[in-house]
Amino acid sequence: MHGVRQARQTREALEAKRIKEQSKLHDYLALTDDVLSRKNQNDWSRRALQATTQLLQVNPEFYTVWNYRRRILVNGIFPESTPEQIKDLLNDDLSLTMAALKIHPKVYWIWTHRGWCLNNVPSGPGTGDDGDPRGWEKDFWNQELFVVEKLLDADPRNFHAWSYRRIVLSSLPVPRPETSELAYTTRKIESNFSNFSAWHQRSKVLSSLWTEGLLDERESKEKEFDLVQNAMYTDPKDQSVWIYHRWLVGAGDDIGILEREIAVIQSLLDEEPDSKWCMESLVHYKRLLLRNHASLVDHSNLTRDCINLLEQLRKVDPGRKARYSEIGEVITNLTVLSI
């Protein structure tokens, strides 16, 4: 149970509620008994399907009933239906799950049932020689992308919806260019810099665009640095942006990027002298300089900077001081070893 406020109620109020619940409870138990006994008898009739509809409308978390519903459709209803009728039945199920998701957007079983529906769209309306046999499939999947966007508008961090979105994108009969997914994450990020789910998605999309040579890595990275710096300066406390920045810098093979980003963060730190994320990131990037570009950098200066920053971090972020101390020791030990 998440986010349900506790209300203290009087004994009388509780009793009134209990009586009101009794008839609901009676109906629910009768319906459950009906559905489960039909299930035990392998009843795959339309009446059974209707009973599962009723029960799932009351309790969409009843996974056994979703399972049973799929068995009824596959074994009982589809074999005696035309492709057109199957398509309509699946549409009904999409409406049923949509209504459930509006109230329970984080119930795994409902998402699973939607995915099952989409994967069972029959060929049509054409037959191959005449018209497009994947026409329905295309319509269903395209519509699904629209639906999942609506759900992500309602809760831009819902990880079920993001996960489902990735399934939809990879299942589209006519794949969308990945650049349009990049544009989608831009919109999500611009409406809220804190949306790490969108930053995460962006990191995946960009990696793939770079690997496939569809975007010039160097050029597109520069655009990303601009976007991130903008976000950093807007809210230096927002960790989504800093985590993404760390991905952009990556292993720190490019000394030019490292030094430039260190300078950018340093000037932000000058404006926001207590910024924990500036200090944390400076330590990380300076350590990358020390590790990857040892012969090109001022070793003792960087080491001293890191030690000082870690000292300050222990003060501004005392809850995590043990981690800062450990990093400090690692740096000191390396210094001792290198002498």
Binding site: M1, H2, G3, V4, R5, Q6, R18, E21, Q22, K24, L25, Y28, L29, T32, L36, K39, N40, V58, N59, E61, F62, Y63, T64, N67, Y68, R70, Y108, T112, G115, W116, R157, F159, W162, S163, R166, S194, N195, F196, S197, H200, Q201, S203, K204, D238, Q239, S240, I243, R246, W247, G250, P318, G319, R320, A322, R323, S325, E329
Partner: protein
């Protein structure tokens, strides 16, 4: 010395769980609609309740025989696994809970081990990930469940380890964390399941420990509570998922344990018992269990050690020879603040 709100209300939580148990095993409170609407979680709920009781030192507070009978009544003969409730379909989630309950109650002889192993192994997909049931929903949670269950049943040798690990590795993100499937965002719950599966399979080498322990430490919010992803709200259940992962990485001292302890305690219901997701919300047995488990890892006085990998009593896992190299905070003897203990852990960590 301590104020009441700083104490874990053990007797109250024990009776809270006992009351839930009465509904389940002794047919009390059967007129409660909510009880019936949550039947699909019943097997998990019994595992949460039993484990919380074990952690609080009252393993016998629920009737053992009735519990075992109930578990066995959820056996799905057709599938060879357990459902969440009698007449519910077998699923890997309820199957693991059933196995954990039977192991905790020392009643594993009731189980047809060969059949249940067959059921679990049948759920592994060509990619290496596990499905939850024959309908094929996949998730790294199910991979962990398979690894955990096979390990408890002494049948890990039946598992294709490389294939299983290979899928988990593909779910690793640049922030060091893991998602529910390839491409998914890191999430503390998924980090727990992936870390624990890799721990059981002795494959922690595929984890980027400095990055992941940084990401995990950043789950702590100024009020002491932990969230599951960046820029999200705190929730008591993440106490366990973040802490257990940190303890497997031996970095539990990276967060402020006093503040987290206070946060968990502040989410207790001081009247009816139980722990909620956050202060002022309705308690439930899920958050009660994960709150108490988190407190145990933080060394809260008087609690029994919980194994963060299997999420079961540590002594039991040790007795079965399954203990891995995790590290919790030292158990405190009094109710004073734990800072001194944190320092001790730090020192012993450095000494090794």
């Amino acid at each position: 010395m301590s104020h009441e709100k700083d104490l874990l209300l053990v007797p109250l939580h024990v009776s809270y769980i006992q009351n839930l148990g009465k509904a389940c095993f002794l047919q009390h409170n059967k007129n409660d609609l909510m009880y019936h609407l949550t039947a699909h979680l019943r097997m998990n709920a019994i595992y949460w309740g039993l484990t919380a009781l074990c952690t609080m030192g009252h393993p016998e507070a629920l009737a053992r025989d009735e519990m075992i009978d109930y578990v066995m009544s959820c056996w799905d003969e057709e599938a060879g696994g357990f459902g969440a409730h009698p007449d519910h379909d077998a699923h890997i989630l309820s199957t693991l809970s059933a196995i954990q309950i039977l192991v905790t109650q020392d009643a594993i002889e009731k189980l047809d081990i060969d059949r249940v192993v067959k059921f679990i192994l049948s759920l592994q997909q060509p990619s290496g990930v596990f499905a939850g049931d024959s309908f094929g929903e996949i998730d790294t949670r199910f991979s962990y469940i398979a690894v955990n269950a096979l390990s408890l049943l002494g049948r890990l040798e039946d598992l294709d380890v490389d294939k299983t690990v290979n899928y988990i590795v593909q779910c690793r993100n640049f922030d060091g964390g893991f998602g529910s499937r390839v491409g998914a965002e890191s999430h503390a719950g998924q980090v727990f399941v992936c870390c624990a599966a890799l721990t059981i399979l002795d494959r922690l080498d595929v984890i980027d420990t400095p990055t992941l322990s940084w990401w995990l430490a950043e789950r702590q919010l100024p009020n002491g509570g932990l969230n599951g992803r960046p820029e999200k709200l705190e929730d008591v259940c993440y106490s366990f998922w973040v802490l257990s992962s940190l303890s497997m990485l031996k970095k539990l001292h990276y967060i402020d344990s006093d503040k987290l302890t206070s946060f968990i305690l502040s989410a207790q219901d001081p009247e009816g018992g139980g722990i909620a997701d956050r202060p002022g919300d309705m308690p439930d047995v899920f958050h009660t269990h994960f709150g108490v488990a988190g407190l145990s890892l933080l060394g809260y006085p008087g609690l029994v050690d919980i194994d963060p990998v299997f999420c079961m009593p540590a002594a039991l896992i040790e007795k079965k020879g399954l203990r891995k190299g995790w590290q919790a905070l030292e158990r405190r003897t009094g109710y004073e603040k734990s800072s001194a203990t944190v320092e001790n852990v730090l020192e012993s960590e450095h000494a090794t």
